[in-house]
C-alpha cells in the first residue's frame, strides 16, 4: 500500500495540470469570496451570516477540485497509462485507495489554504460593507465555535467533493463525460430546488443533494432555517462520496481496463 501511495503521489505531483489547478483553485476560491463580500449590500431587514458569506468562494472552487479529481483517473484511461499502472499494482482496490488517499491529502491542504484565505478576505472586506461590531456583527474569528466548525467543515467539504468526483471518474473513465456528470450532480439540484414550488419537496431535495446538504456546514446563524443540520449535511455528502467510491471501486474491480 505504501508503495502504491508513493507511486500515485509521484504521478499526481509530476503532472503539470495538478500544480496550476491547485493554484487556480486557491485563487478562484478566495477571489470569488472577496468579490461576493465587496458587492454585498446590507439590507437592514435580513441579518447576514458573515462566515457563510466569506466562504462563498467554495461554491466555485469545488468545481476545480472536481476537475483535479476527475483528471487523476480519467487521464490515465485517456493516455492508456492505466494498463501500465494496473500491471504494476494489480490490486485494483489498493490502487483506488492510494489515489483517494493522495487526493484527500492534497485537497485538504489546498482547502485549508483556500478557506483561510476566504476567512481573512471576509475579515478584512466585510466591515467595509457594514458588517462590523458597530452593526452588531462580530469580526470573523476562528475562536468563535460556529465559525471554526464552518471553516473545518468547508475543508472537509472540498475533500469529499474530490472523493465523490474520483469515484464518478473511476466509473465513467472519460474526462469530458465525468466532468459533465460531476458538474451536473453538483449544480443542477440547487436550480431544480429553486423551481420546485412545493416547499416540502424543495426541502427534501436540498437535504439529499450533495452541494446543498454539504454546504449547510457553512452556516453560523439562523440554523433553524437550514434544510439540514450542519454536520448531518456534511454526512450526506460523505455518504455520496462513499457510495461513489464504492461503485467506482466495484466497477474497477469487475471490468477490464
Amino acid at each position: 500500500m505504501t508503495a502504491a501511495v508513493r507511486a500515485e503521489w509521484t504521478k499526481l505531483r509530476t503532472v503539470a495540470s495538478t500544480g496550476w489547478l491547485l493554484v487556480v483553485t486557491v485563487g478562484v476560491t478566495v477571489a470569488v469570496s472577496a468579490v461576493a463580500a465587496s458587492v454585498l449590500h446590507v439590507n437592514r431587514g435580513s441579518p447576514q451570516d458573515p462566515t457563510k458569506l466569506s466562504l462563498a468562494g467554495v461554491q466555485i472552487g469545488q468545481a476545480l477540485i472536481a476537475v483535479l479529481a476527475v483528471l487523476a483517473v480519467s487521464e490515465e484511461y485517456g493516455t492508456g497509462m492505466i494498463r501500465v499502472t494496473l500491471t504494476a499494482i494489480p490490486r485494483r482496490l489498493t490502487l483506488l485507495a492510494a489515489k483517494a488517499a493522495n487526493l484527500a491529502g492534497l485537497t485538504m491542504l489546498v482547502g485549508l489554504i483556500a478557506v483561510a484565505g476566504c476567512l481573512l478576505a471576509g475579515r478584512l472586506i466585510l466591515p467595509g460593507a457594514g458588517i462590523d461590531p458597530a452593526h452588531g456583527y462580530e469580526l470573523i474569528s476562528l475562536s468563535h465555535a460556529p465559525t471554526l466548525r464552518a471553516a473545518a467543515g468547508s475543508v472537509l467539504y472540498l475533500v469529499f467533493i474530490g472523493l465523490l468526483s474520483l469515484g464518478v471518474a473511476t466509473a465513467i473513465r472519460d474526462t469530458a463525460t465525468s466532468v459533465g456528470a460531476v458538474f451536473g450532480l453538483l449544480y443542477l439540484p440547487p436550480i431544480a430546488a429553486q423551481l420546485v414550488g412545493d416547499p416540502t419537496w424543495r426541502r427534501h431535495l436540498e437535504q439529499i443533494a450533495p452541494m446543498t446538504a454539504g454546504l449547510a456546514v457553512q452556516a453560523t446563524t439562523n440554523l433553524r432555517s437550514l434544510p439540514i443540520a450542519p454536520w448531518a449535511g456534511l454526512g450526506v455528502l460523505a455518504a455520496w462520496a462513499a457510495v461513489s467510491l464504492l461503485v467506482g471501486g466495484m466497477v474497477l474491480r469487475l471490468r477490464d481496463a
Binding site: 480519467s74 451536473g184 436550480i191 412545493d198
Partner: protein, 527 residues
Amino acid sequence: MSVTSAPPRPTDKPASNSFRSVLWAEWTKFRTVRGWIVALVLAAAATFFLCYETAAGPHTGGCSGLPAGAICTSAPPTVVPTGPGGEGVADTYEFVHHTLTGDGTVTAKITSLAGVTATNASNVQGSPSASHPGLASWAKAGLLLTPSTTQGSAYAAVMATGNHAIHFQYNYTHDTHGVAGTVTKSTPRWLRLVRSGDTIIGYASTNGQRWTEVGSADLSGLPATVQVGLFATSPLTFQGGTGYPTLATATFDHLNFDGRPASNSWLGQDIGIGRTSFYPTLASGSYHRSGTTVVVSGSGDIAPAVVQGLEGTHTASSSLLLGLIVGLLVVIVVAAMFVTTEYRRGLIRTTFTAIPARGRVIAAKGVVVGSIVFALSLVVMAVIVPLGQHLLRAHGNYVFPATTLTQARIAIGASAVVAMAAITVIALSAMVRRAAAAITAGAAVFVLPFILATAAGGGASEWLLRLTPAAGLSMLQALPHYSQVNYAYTLSNGYYPLTPLAGFAVLCGYTVIALTAASLLLNRRDA
C-alpha cells in the same frame, strides 16, 4: 495466387477544400460516433421530461405545503382580465361616469391628487387604517372613455399621475405623455377628452385656455354610445421586491360636458373590485360631490398586468429553465468532446493536413453541432411550449396569454441560445484543446453566471445577465417591461434586464469573439 483488387485511382481533381466538403467531413465525423448522437438525443429527452414535470408539478396557488396525498380544493383560479390586444391586464379603478352618444367633449380641472400607502405588503388584506400618507408615483386620475365597464374592455384616458406628468393612455399598453409637473393647489391641471368618430384625443392645459394635445387613439369599432367620466386608481408601489397597495384621492371641479356644465346623472362605480380580482387593492373606491366639486378615490391599476408575484401565476416560458440548463450541460460536454477528442487521438493532425484552412474546420464543426443541437432543441420546444402552458392551465394555474409570435420566439430563441452555446464551446475547446478545461470553461461561461444571478439577486444579478453570455437567456422572457408600470422587474419574477434580441446579440457577440480568437490561435500554433 491471390486476386488483389487495385486501390481506387485518385481522381484527377484534388480533394476539394471548399466549405461544403469540410462541412461534409465534419458531419461524417460527428454522426459516426454513436455516443455523441445518443447523448444529444438523451439530452433532448431529459429536457422534455424536466420541462414536462415542471409544468405538471404546480397546482393552483395557495395549496403548496400540503401533506402528501392531500387534494387541493381551495383557492379559485385567479381571474386576470384580458385586454383588447389579448394580453393580461389590470383593470381596477373607481369610475364616475355618464353616457355619451356620438361625438362629444368632456373637460375637467383637477386641483389635487393625494394618496396613502398600505403599511402591509400586498399579500396581506389591505386596510385604510393600516396605511400612511404617500402617493404612488403611478397613481392615476383623470378622464376616461370606454365602451363598457366590463374589465378588460377598450378605453382611452387622459390623466394626471403621481409624479409622471400628464399621460394619455389607451388599451392598456399604449402610453404617451404631455405637460410635465405634478398636480398641486397652485398648479392645477385641466384635462379634456374629445371623441370624434372612432378617434379619441386627449388634451391638457395649465390654465384652461391654451390646450396642448397629449395623445390620440384610434379605437376602431367603438359603438355609438360609450361611457365617459372621471376615474381614479392607484397601483402597488414597490420597495425592494415587495409591493404595497395604495389608494389615491383626486379632487375635480369645472366638470364640463359637451361645452355645458355637467348634469347630475353621474353614476359612481367600482370597476373590478369585489370580484375574484387578482389586483391587490387597499380599499374599494368611492366618490362624493359637493357643489361643483367631485372627489374620487380609487385603488388598483389600468395597465398591462405584470407577474404580480402571485402564487400559481405563470408565463409561456416559466417551465423551461431547468430542462434547458440540463440540456445545455450535455451539449457543452458533447461539443467539447467533438474537438478535444481529435486532439487526444491525434486525429487533428490528419484533419489539418487534409484541410489546411484551420478556421474553416472550426467553423464547420460549429455549423454541424450547432445545427444538430438547434434542430433537436426546436423539436422539443415546439412541443413543450404549448404543452407546458396547457398542463399549467389544466391544473388551475393562470398562465399569461402569449401570442403565437411570442411562443415561436421563445421556442426558436431557446434553441438558438443552446446552438450558439455549442458553437462557442467548439471555439473554446479548439483554444484550450483539453476536455476538462473546455468543459469547465463552458460551464463557467454559460451555466455559472445564471446560477450566480439566481443566487445573488439585485444589481449583481442584473449585471451578470447583461454582460455574460447568460444574457442570451433573455430570449425566454415572455412579458415585456412596461415603463408605465412600477414593478420589481427581477429574474425571480421572470424578467431579464435586456430585451430578448439584445440579450441574444450579447451571446452572439461572445460567439463571434471566441470563433475569431480560436481561428487566429489555430493558425499561429502547431496542432
